[in-house]
């Protein structure tokens, strides 16, 4: 039995589309990118030429007729409206993370997907990292025993080639580093530890979007952990999971992990089996993500990040922002009265 090719439209032609979605979709069997949409029509046209996509339009509404499913890689504040419009038009959706800026918008999206019987998946691409999968496996195998505490940190000077300034405005981005990197990290922690509840949260936003912050959360099993994220300083991109039997220090982005049994001085330092590259091949991860999304559309068993799960992450971030304690940078000494 041959499967008809699924026609895909991609809305939003920024960096993530150019670098990952389009190269990945090109490799996926049984799917074809039929159209690109971006209000900056010139960008859409260039990418269409580069990736052999037959149509490029400015208004996404124009493309909906010709496609079965859409990838939405848009400024965060547009996720809900455009997503709901696509779902109502009967299109399956793969939404770039975060699902939306608010829980209310998430709920509206989820409702639209249900009412129209369409797949609404979220591009939590890090789920496909070998280390993220392996750690989930290891935890469920009881390798670490009961998790007592955990720490996650990820940070570096911001370098993503943002093509539009939505990203740095609270109204459009919904938040800063926690809405961006945090949506990844919190999703990963949920994969490993289940639902998280907020303990406290602090960041450096002073009316804008935070560049650096720290969240304390509690997992279902009672473990408390800290998530420290930054766009201003280099942090080690790692997660430390402290269990009753062993501690695992994992660097998901380069597949490394060190396991140290609780009463041992020596750890086993290595890589997740089968993942020996020094850096993940992101296009391949996006390809896996697209394949799983297409499987879900075809009602086959698939590993996708469901909108309901992504909503929980947004709920946590929304609550954190609501309960935010603002902390100035340690270097922000007053000028008035300085040296006095």
């Amino acid at each position: 039995m041959t499967v008809d090719s699924i026609q895909i439209g991609v809305v939003g032609c920024g960096a993530v589309t150019a670098r990952y979605h389009l190269p990945a979709l090109r490799r996926v069997a049984g799917a074809r990118v039929a159209a690109l949409a971006d209000p900056a029509l010139e960008r859409a046209r260039i990418l269409a030429a580069q990736f052999g996509v037959p149509r490029a339009v400015a208004d996404f509404q124009e493309m909906l007729d010709g496609v079965d499913a859409v990838v939405l890689a848009l400024p965060h504040h547009l996720h809900a409206t455009i997503g709901i419009a696509a779902l109502r038009a009967g299109k399956h959706v793969l939404m770039e993370k975060p699902l939306a800026n608010t829980v209310a918008d998430c709920d509206a999206l989820i409702a639209a997907a249900r009412e129209n019987g369409r797949v609404l998946a979220v591009a939590q691409v890090r789920r496909y990292l070998p280390a993220v999968r392996a750690v989930r496996d290891w935890l469920s195998a009881g390798l670490l025993g009961d998790i007592a505490a955990f720490e996650v940190e990820e940070g570096g000077v911001y370098r993503w080639p943002a093509a539009s300034d939505f990203f740095f405005r609270r109204e459009t981005a919904g938040g800063g580093v926690f809405m961006d990197t945090g949506a990844h990290v919190l999703d990963m922690l949920r994969c490993w530890l289940g639902d998280l509840t907020l303990v406290e949260y602090a960041d450096d936003a002073a009316g804008g979007v935070e560049a650096d912050g720290e969240m304390r959360v509690r997992s279902l099993c009672g473990a408390e952990g800290t998530i420290r994220l930054s766009r201003l300083r280099d942090l080690r991109n790692r997660c430390v999971l402290r269990g009753s039997r062993a501690t695992l220090d994992v660097e998901p982005l380069n597949h490394r992990a060190t396991l140290t049994p609780s009463r041992s001085k020596t750890g086993l330092a290595g890589t997740v089996e089968g993942a020996m590259d020094s850096a993940p091949d992101w296009v391949t991860l996006f390809e896996e993500q697209a394949e799983n999304w297409l499987k879900a559309i075809r009602r086959q068993p698939a590993e996708i990040a469901a909108a309901e799960e992504a909503r929980e992450t947004i709920r946590l971030i929304e609550e954190a922002y609501a309960r935010r304690r603002t902390v100035a940078g340690v270097w922000e000494r007053p000028l008035i009265g300085a040296g006095a």
Partner: protein, 399 residues
């Protein structure tokens, strides 16, 4: 002129909007924070690329991105009565390219200031415009001789163009010439900390050269003062701390932060000899690379081999076995990073830094004191205490 208190300077600033050009940099970031945060002044941040806007974006201010040579960008940012703080400089290119770019940037900004009727333009220049100084004191009357240094030359071209326009066309420009700026995010903090952590830092003049260090926030103070001071158009001001330390004191402060012993003070001639030796030892390898680059046949030979096999085979063919094994071990240990010689590597000053570090000149801030009411709030101890706090946060020193 009686010196204004900073609270009065803030009060005066609140009368205008401030447009920071180059707000993504070290000084720009702090300018925005101080204005939009502590002082509560309406601010517009202009950044070259949005990637640099994370710090400014903490505040609910307007952020404009683009090149200051684009008049449209400046028109979107600047309005009548604004104060423009210009922190831009051409960061790339050789001497000639930078000089040209700096002039174009200055002209574009000056034109916008006039077109949009901005009130004042504070332009950040640098002590480097004076070039190597052999005298015991440096003030604004000294000749500008930046020499071969592309950075100093570019900056000089910019400041000269603005001073000319101030003189000839009444451009309301004030020039600040900060010295060795250290503190949060600053190059003279991040660089030395990294060097001292990774290797042995060699100081010329037995470390007794004068380091005209100024803590970042004192530069910010000077900018704000220059923005509101009266009758300073067309003037340039050196901005430095008081009682400059020696370079040994300056680097010593970082050494203590790190808890390492990584300084090696030498006489200047010996440092020069080391620099020459280093250049020499690099030479034959450069010659080899050159030969391989220019000899197409040889080059094809190498490129025809599968990827890295050539390097591997070459090393294996040429190195004595024991050495090869050791090298391989070390290579693997480092996960493929470039191996270096055993022992901690020497970090020699670049020739341009050598001049700076060997100079006995103390910078006079008399003019800034007199005309701007500038008074450094941080001596080295205070500045380094503040710097240490930031460095610990940034993970640059052990907590």
């Amino acid at each position: 002129m009686r010196a204004l208190a900073m609270s009065a300077v803030a009060e005066a600033l609140r009368g205008s909007r401030i447009v920071a050009l180059g707000a993504g940099g070290v000084i720009g970031g702090r300018v925005v924070e101080a204005l939009a945060g502590e002082l509560g002044v309406e601010t517009v941040a202009v950044v070259r690329t949005l990637s640099k806007a994370a710090r400014a974006a903490r505040f609910p201010i307007r952020i404009v991105s683009g090149d200051v040579r684009d008049a449209g960008i400046l028109d979107r940012a600047i309005s009548e009565g604004d104060i423009v703080v210009d922190l831009t400089y051409p960061a790339e290119g050789n001497r000639a390219e930078r000089v040209r770019a700096a002039r174009e940037m200055a002209d574009s900004i000056a034109a916008a200031v006039r077109r949009r009727r901005a009130r004042r333009l504070v332009h950040l220049s640098t002590i480097s415009v004076y070039g190597p100084v052999r005298a015991l004191t440096l003030d604004e009357s000294a000749p500008r001789r930046p020499g071969a240094d592309p950075y100093g030359a570019g900056k000089q071209a910019g400041e000269r163009e603005l001073l000319r326009l101030a003189r000839e066309d009444g451009l309301p420009a004030v020039i600040l010439q900060p010295t060795v700026v250290y503190g949060p995010f600053a190059g003279w903090t991040v660089g030395p900390l990294r060097q001292l952590r990774e290797g042995i830092v060699v100081l010329p003049a037995r470390g007794q050269g004068i380091c005209n260090a100024v803590y970042l926030d004192d530069v910010i103070q000077a900018i704000f003062r220059a923005a509101v001071a009266e009758a300073v158009e067309g003037e340039a001001f050196l901005i430095s701390g008081e009682q400059p330390p020696t370079w040994l004191d300056f680097y010593g402060a970082y050494e203590r932060m790190l808890g390492v012993s990584s300084l090696l003070a030498m006489d200047t001639a010996s440092v020069r000899a080391q620099l020459n030796a280093q250049a020499k030892s690099a030479r034959p390898f450069r010659r080899l690379i050159h030969r391989l680059r220019s000899d197409g046949d040889l080059r094809q030979t190498i490129l025809a081999l599968p990827a890295l096999a050539q390097a591997y085979a070459l090393a294996r063919a040429l190195l004595p076995r024991a050495r090869w094994e050791r090298a391989k071990d070390r290579w693997m240990k480092r996960g493929g990073a470039a191996p270096s010689a055993p022992g901690r590597p020497l970090r020699l000053p670049r020739p341009i830094q050598l001049e700076l570090m060997a100079s006995p000149a103390r910078v006079s801030i008399e003019k800034a004191r007199r005309r701007l009411g500038f008074e450094p709030a941080y001596d080295l101890d205070q500045g380094m205490r503040a710097t240490r706090e930031w460095a610990a946060w940034a993970g640059l020193i052990p907590e």
